[in-house]
C-alpha cells in the first residue's frame, strides 16, 4: 500500500490547491453550482483517498467540510463569506495533516477542533433557518422526475458479497437518485430503494439485469412518504429526523409531553418497516429508548448521545449511512453547540411544534419530506452528473499527461546537453573538411545540429511550467493579508501562461510572496486613505509575467502610495549608509534592498522587520536574475524581476582572452566594436573609459580581471559592450570566437564559487570555458574605478 502513498500525497495536494483556487474565485453572492460541486468533489476525493490509506484524521476533517459543502451545493443554505474563510482554514489544516503524514510536524489538534466546530456550526446554524425557508418551496418540487419504490430479491450469491451490492447501487445511482431503504446482506437478499429518476422501468430493470431476474423486481410509485415520513430514506436522514423529533422533547412548549407518545409510535411504525433489516432495528430501538431517557434531562449532551447512539448501536446502519450524503447531517445535527440553550429551542420550534400536534406521526414527516423533497432531485442529479464529470476528467488526465520523476527529466536534459557538446565537437572537426569532397558529411552535420537543437528545446520544455503555478497561490495570500490589514485589494494576474523552468518556479515563489506582502502592507493604503487621495477604495495588485528576449520578466505592481523618497533617505542616514539628497531615484530605491532596512514604523507579523528585501534581491541574483524598482509617489510601485529562461542552457558569445575562452551571456551583450585609440580616455590618471556614441563607459579588461596575459594594445583587441544591473560597461577581449548555445556546468559541484564567473561549460573541442558573470565583472571593474577615485 505504501507505494501508493506518494500518489495520494501528490493528488491530495492537487485537490487542495484546486479547492483553494475555486474557493477564492467563488462569488459569495452568487456562487456557481458548478464551482461548489467541484469543491465538493475535491473534498470528497481527499476524503476517499485518506480513508483508503487510513489517514483518519484527514478523513474526519474532510467529512465535516464535505457536510457543509454538501448542503451548500444542494442550495439548502446560502453561502456566506465566513464559510469560505472556514473552508480555506480547513484546507490549511488538511495540508498540515498531509505534511504530517509525509513526515512533517503534527497539525495542531486544537486548531483542527476549532475549525471543525466552526464548520459544524455553520452547517447546523444554517440548518434551522433553511428548514423554515425551504418548507414552502415544497410545491415547486414536482419535477418531471418521478419517485418510485423499487424492491427486488437478490440471489444469495450476490447479496452476500458487499462489493457486488455496492456495484449494483452504484449502477443505479448512475441513472437515478437513490435512497437505499433496505440494503441486502448475507442473510436477506431483499433490496428496497426509493429512486428519483427520469428513467423508465425497463431501464431500471436493465441496470439490475446483471444482478437479478427481471421478474423479481418490483417497481411501484413511491407513496408511503406520508405514512413513514421521516423514515423513507433511512440511509439518508432518518437519523436526522429522529434527532429532530428528539428535540421536540426538549421544547419548552407545554404540549411537549403529548408529543412523546405519537413520536415513539412513529418510531416503531417507521422502523417496523425495516424489521428484517439488520442494523436498522437496532437503530430504531436505540433512539426511542434513549429518547425517553433523555427527555427529562433536557441536555444538549444527551441529544448528542442520541445522534451518535444511532451510529453506535447500529453497526449495520453505518454501512447504510456511508454512501449517503445525509449521514453527515446526523453529525451536524447532533453536534452540541447549536442546540444548547436558545438555539436549540428555536431550532426545535418548527419541527418539534409540529410533532406535538395531534397528527404527530405525519406532520413532522411532512415538514421533513417537504424540506428534503425539493433537494432530492437536484442533489441526486447533480451527483450523477458529478460522476460523469469525474469520469471524463480522469480519463482526460490519464490520456494527456504522465507523472515522471524530475530526476529522470534532468537526466535526459543532461544527456541532451552532452549530445549538444558532441555535435559541436563533430561540427568543429568537420569544419576543416573540404566542402566539395565531404559534401554529404557536412550536410549531415548541418541536419544533426538542427535536430539536436530542436531536441534540446523540446527536452527543456519538459521542465517548463506556466507561471500560473506560482501566481495561483497569491489570491489566497492577498485575500488573507488584505483581511488582516483591513484593506481592500483586488488581485490581477497577467501572463499566467508564461513558461519558466521548474527550478526557477520553485525558487521564485518565496521572493514573490515577499514582494506581494510588501505591496499589501506598505504599498496599498487603507480604504479611507485611498478615498481621501481620490482613488478607488479598492487597491489593485497586479502580477505580470512575460518573455522579453531570453528573459522572463515578472512584475509586481500596486497602485498604492509609492515609496517615500525622503523617508528612505532619512532611514538610510540613520543606519549610516552612504547617501546624499541628490541621489537618483533608482539609487534611492536600491537602498531598500540593503540588509535590515525597513521604513515601517510598526513591526507587524506581516512585515516591517527589515529582513526580506535584501533576501529577495539575493535570491533573485542567485538565480541569475535581477530586481528593479520603480515608484511614483501616490501612484504606486512596480517591482520588476528579470530571470533567465532556464538555469541549464545559455546563449553565449565566446571570446578569447589570453589563450582562454570565455562565454559572455548573449542576453547581456549590446554590441561589439573595435575601439579607436582616441575614444579611450582615462579617468583619474589610469582608469580607462571608452567613449561610445556620447556615452562614457568603464573599460574592463578581462585579461586584467582574470589575471591572464591578454592583448595589451587596445586597438588590436575588441570591445564587447554589455549591460548589467549596475549599468553598461565595455569588456576588453582579444578576439571574438563565435556564438553558441552552451550547457551550464556548475563550478561549485567540485570546486567553489569563483568571483566574476557564473559557471563553466564544455566547448566543442572538449575544453572547459568559463562563463562570465557580467554583473560581477562589471562590479569588479566599477569598484576598481571607485577605489582609484577614492585613493
Amino acid at each position: 500500500m505504501s507505494q501508493f502513498y506518494q500518489v495520494f500525497f501528490e493528488e491530495t495536494s492537487e485537490h487542495l490547491a484546486s479547492m483553494e483556487n475555486l474557493l477564492l474565485n467563488l462569488d459569495v453572492n452568487d456562487p456557481s453550482l458548478e464551482d461548489l460541486n467541484a469543491i465538493f468533489r475535491a473534498a470528497h476525493s481527499i476524503k476517499g483517498g485518506s480513508g483508503t490509506f487510513g489517514f483518519t484524521d484527514m478523513t474526519s476533517v474532510t467529512h465535516v467540510l464535505e457536510s457543509l459543502l454538501d448542503r451548500l451545493r444542494k442550495e439548502e443554505i446560502p453561502l456566506l463569506a465566513e464559510m469560505v474563510d472556514a473552508f480555506l482554514e480547513a484546507g490549511d489544516i488538511l495540508r498540515a495533516q498531509l505534511e504530517h503524514h509525509q513526515g512533517g510536524p503534527e497539525a495542531e489538534a486544537d486548531v483542527i477542533a476549532s475549525v471543525c466546530a466552526r464548520l459544524n456550526q455553520l452547517a447546523v446554524g444554517e440548518a434551522a433557518e433553511s428548514q423554515e425557508q425551504d418548507t414552502p418551496t415544497e410545491t415547486t418540487t414536482s419535477a418531471p422526475v418521478r419517485k418510485i419504490r423499487l424492491s427486488c430479491e437478490l440471489p444469495a450469491n450476490q447479496s452476500q458479497v458487499a462489493e457486488s451490492v455496492d456495484n449494483l447501487l452504484e449502477g443505479l445511482r448512475d441513472i437515478a437518485a437513490l435512497e437505499v431503504k433496505q440494503r441486502p446482506d448475507g442473510t436477506d437478499g431483499h433490496l428496497i430503494a426509493v429512486l428519483t429518476t427520469q428513467a423508465c422501468d425497463s431501464e431500471l430493470k436493465d441496470a439490475l439485469a446483471f444482478y437479478c431476474a427481471p421478474e423479481d423486481i418490483a417497481i411501484q410509485p413511491e407513496v408511503e412518504e406520508e405514512a413513514y415520513g421521516f423514515f423513507d430514506d433511512l440511509g439518508d436522514s432518518s437519523a436526522t429526523d429522529t434527532a429532530d423529533i428528539g428535540y421536540g422533547f426538549f421544547d419548552d412548549l407545554p404540549d411537549q409531553t403529548p408529543s412523546v407518545v405519537p413520536v415513539s409510535s412513529a418510531d416503531d411504525d417507521g422502523f417496523g418497516l425495516f424489521d428484517d433489516a439488520p442494523g436498522a432495528p437496532a437503530a430504531s430501538d436505540a433512539p426511542s429508548g434513549q429518547l425517553a431517557e433523555v427527555a427529562p434531562g433536557d441536555s444538549p449532551a444527551a441529544i448528542e448521545g442520541i445522534g451518535y447512539g444511532i451510529y453506535v448501536n447500529a453497526p449495520g446502519g453505518l454501512g447504510l449511512f456511508d454512501d449517503a450524503p445525509g449521514a453527515e447531517k446526523i453529525l451536524q445535527n447532533s453536534a452540541p453547540p447549536p442546540f444548547s440553550g436558545k438555539t436549540a429551542a428555536a431550532f426545535v420550534e418548527g419541527v418539534g411544534g409540529a410533532a406535538s400536534s395531534a397528527q404527530a406521526t405525519q406532520k413532522p414527516s411532512q415538514a421533513d419530506v417537504g424540506r428534503r423533497l425539493p433537494d432530492n432531485p437536484s442533489i441526486e442529479t447533480a451527483k450523477s452528473g458529478r460522476r460523469d464529470n469525474d469520469k471524463t476528467v480522469t480519463a482526460a488526465n490519464t490520456d494527456t499527461s504522465i507523472r515522471v520523476a524530475v530526476e529522470k527529466v534532468d537526466q535526459l536534459i543532461n544527456l541532451v546537453g552532452e549530445l549538444v557538446i558532441t555535435q559541436a565537437m563533430l561540427a568543429e572537426a568537420a569544419s576543416n573538411l573540404d566542402p566539395v569532397l565531404a559534401e554529404k558529411i557536412l550536410a549531415g552535420i548541418d541536419l544533426l545540429s538542427r535536430n539536436t537543437r530542436d531536441m534540446q528545446e523540446s527536452v527543456m520544455s519538459i521542465r517548463m511550467l506556466p507561471m500560473s503555478m506560482v501566481f495561483s497561490r497569491f489570491p489566497r495570500v492577498v485575500r488573507d493579508l488584505a483581511g488582516k490589514l483591513n484593506k481592500q485589494v483586488e488581485m490581477k494576474t497577467i501572463g499566467d501562461n508564461t513558461e519558466l523552468d521548474k527550478g526557477l518556479i520553485e525558487k521564485i515563489t518565496d521572493p514573490l510572496t515577499h514582494l506581494v506582502r510588501n505591496s499589501l502592507d506598505h504599498g496599498i493604503e487603507t480604504p479611507d486613505k485611498r478615498i481621501a487621495a481620490g482613488k478607488n477604495p479598492k487597491g489593485t495588485l497586479t502580477l505580470k509575467a512575460s518573455h522579453q528576449g531570453g528573459n522572463v520578466v515578472i512584475e509586481v505592481m500596486d497602485d498604492g502610495g509609492g515609496l517615500n523618497r525622503a523617508r528612505i533617505l532619512e532611514k538610510a542616514k540613520e543606519k549610516g549608509l552612504a547617501v546624499s539628497d541628490s541621489m537618483t531615484d533608482f539609487d534611492v530605491w536600491q537602498l531598500i534592498f540593503a540588509p535590515g532596512f525597513s521604513t515601517a514604523d510598526v513591526v507587524t507579523d506581516v512585515s516591517g522587520r527589515g529582513v526580506g528585501m535584501d533576501v529577495v534581491k539575493r535570491n533573485i541574483e542567485g538565480l541569475g536574475g535581477r530586481v528593479e524598482l520603480e515608484s511614483s509617489p501616490g501612484f504606486g510601485t512596480r517591482t520588476v524581476i528579470r530571470l533567465p529562461l532556464t538555469l541549464a542552457i545559455l546563449d553565449g558569445m565566446s571570446v578569447g582572452v589570453g589563450g582562454e575562452t570565455f562565454i559572455v551571456p548573449i542576453t547581456t551583450v549590446i554590441e561589439s566594436l573595435q575601439p579607436r585609440l582616441e575614444d579611450i580616455r582615462t579617468l583619474a590618471g589610469d582608469s580607462r573609459m571608452v567613449h561610445i556614441r556620447g556615452e562614457y563607459l568603464p573599460l574592463i579588461s578581462l585579461a586584467e580581471a582574470f589575471g591572464l596575459d591578454g592583448e595589451a594594445d587596445i586597438t588590436k583587441g575588441l570591445l564587447v559592450v554589455v549591460e548589467a544591473e549596475e549599468g553598461k560597461a565595455a569588456l576588453f577581449v582579444d578576439e571574438l570566437l563565435g556564438q553558441q548555445q552552451v550547457v551550464i556546468k556548475s563550478l561549485e559541484a567540485n570546486y567553489r564559487k569563483v568571483p566574476g564567473l557564473s559557471g563553466a561549460t564544455i566547448m566543442g573541442d572538449g575544453r572547459v570555458a568559463m562563463i562570465i558573470d557580467v554583473s560581477a565583472v562589471t562590479r569588479m571593474g566599477l569598484s576598481q574605478v571607485k577605489q582609484r577615485l577614492a585613493a
Binding site: E660, A705, K745, A749, Y751, A760, I762, R767, V768, M770
Partner: protein, 159 residues
C-alpha cells in the same frame, strides 16, 4: 566534518603510492577514481598557484591541484609522463598532479610510524604516518583531510 573515523580506518589497508620529486607518498586507494595523463587545463581566475585549473572529465568539470607546487617540491614540468590522479572525495571529484604513480602497497598500522613534529610545509595533521617498504619511506597522507582542508581553497568556506 569529522575525520576521526577516516583516520582510524585508513590506518591499515591498501595504498596507492606516487612520487613527488624525490619523495614517495601513499594515499588510501579507495579514494582513487582513476589515473590519467595530464591534459591542458582551463585556468581559473584568481585561484592559488597550485590550483592549475579545471578539466573536462567526461562532462564533469574537475579542478586540478598540483601537489608539487603545493608541497614546494619544484620540478613543475608537464610532459607525457605527468600523471593526474582523479580522486573521489565525499561527493566531489578532483584531480592531483603528481610526478608518477609507482605502486599499490599493503600497509598495516604496525608498519606506520608517526611523523615527527616539525614545521614542514605539509602540516602533520594531514600525515597519517610514515610507512617503510623495502627501505623506501612512504609518507601516508590523509588525502581527504588534505583536499577538503581550508588551505587548499578547493571548496567554499561554508562547505
Amino acid at each position: 566534518m569529522d575525520y576521526s573515523e577516516t583516520t582510524g580506518v585508513a590506518a591499515s589497508g591498501e595504498y596507492l603510492t606516487f612520487t613527488l620529486g624525490a619523495e614517495e607518498y601513499g594515499i588510501d586507494i579507495l579514494k582513487v577514481q582513476e589515473i590519467r595523463g595530464y591534459d591542458a587545463v582551463t585556468k581559473i581566475a584568481n585561484a592559488p598557484r597550485f590550483i592549475k585549473g579545471v578539466i573536462n572529465l567526461r562532462g564533469v568539470i574537475v579542478p586540478i591541484v598540483d601537489l608539487r607546487i603545493k608541497f614546494n617540491l619544484g620540478g613543475e614540468t608537464y610532459d607525457q609522463f605527468t600523471v593526474v590522479i582523479i580522486l573521489n572525495i565525499g561527493k566531489r571529484v578532483m584531480g592531483v598532479v603528481v610526478d608518477g604513480v609507482s605502486d599499490v602497497i599493503q600497509l598495516s598500522s604496525d608498519n606506520l610510524r608517526p611523523a615527527p613534529e616539525f614545521g614542514s610545509v605539509l602540516d602533520t595533521r594531514y600525515i597519517l604516518g610514515l610507512g617503510t617498504v623495502e627501505e623506501r619511506m612512504i609518507i601516508v597522507v590523509d588525502i581527504e583531510r588534505l583536499m577538503t582542508g581550508q588551505e587548499m581553497a578547493l571548496m567554499d568556506a561554508a562547505v
